[in-house]
Amino acid sequence: MWIKELWHKLGSPRWFYQISSPWIIGFGVAALVLLTVGVVWGLVYAPQDYQQGNSFRIMYVHVPAAMVSQSVYLGMGVAGFVLFVWRMKLADVAIAACLPFGIMLTALALFTGGVWGRPTWGTWWEWDGRTVSTLVLLFLYIGIYALREAILDTELRGRASALVAMVGTINIPIIKYSVDWWSTLHQPASITLTDKPTMPPEMWMPLLVMVLGIYCFAAHNIMSRMRVEILNRESKTRWVRNLMVTDTKPIQNV
């Protein structure tokens, strides 16, 4: 079974290090193209919103950041599950790589949300449902980050943060629902997977491009951070030393 083989290979950081380079370049190029197209399309070609005017163009950076920050946390929860059940080293590397990027992206989503709220609702900060969900997400991230800072042993640090990430992931639906309970001001979700979007295509197409672009950027960033993390941890092993010494072709700085 090829799946089983792949699973065993995934356990080895060395294998990931060796195969990840083309993927990182691919995701990086895709992110660059998609984000450039998306930003130009969203800023210049997308029609104005009849109510919000041009301030709705903030959506093209706010919504992708908010979406991807949630996905990154979800990915961390899945990595935590994998680490807990199969003790896969690579999963801990993934958690470590997801954390800083996720925190930055969540903070960005909050900031752009506030900037968008000023012309739309007339206030920089509104305790609206999705604001609170995003803020809770940021605190969940920060909790795991603080926990990882506090534990010195690598293996225990991984397992503790995996446990917290799993519990957090299970709780996220409940938190979101409870926060929606009293949410009022925000408009309904822009892109949903099941419903037809309420926006015309010339408005949501650039959003789709931006979302894909941020996803690619996230993949690029997280995978390259994983490579740095792997080299840090395995710096004493033979394969890293051999890689540094015998490799005649320059190692890509991705």
Binding site: L35, V39, L43, V44, Y45, A46, P47, Q48, G53, N54, S55, R57, I58, V61, H62, A65, P100, F101, M104, L105, A107, L108, F111, T112, V115, W116, R118, P119, E202, F217, N221, S224, R225, R227, V228, L231, N232, S235, V240, R241, M244, V245, T246, P250, I251, Q252, N253, V254
Partner: protein
């Protein structure tokens, strides 16, 4: 697909919402570029250090070509 703005100044003003639009796009660029370049620098430092470590730890025949300054791709 027609551009929504006739002039550059109109584009920059964003119909009076220029501050908010550019603030959020600017912060996004800042965050994305920041996370890209900080990682790139970390990676370069790490490679330099690891190559230097490797060149001091391994046998003599490989030692000369790999001082931290002269290695490729750094």
């Amino acid at each position: 697909m027609v551009p929504q703005f006739e002039t550059i100044s109109e584009f920059l003003a964003m119909g009076g919402h220029g501050l908010y639009v550019w603030l959020s796009y600017g912060s996004t660029v800042l965050v994305l570029a920041g996370s890209y370049f900080s990682l790139r620098f970390a990676r370069q430092r790490q490679l330099e250090q690891l190559r230097w470590q490797a060149s001091t730890n391994t046998s003599d025949q490989q030692q000369t070509a790999h001082s931290p300054k002269s290695s490729n791709g750094v």
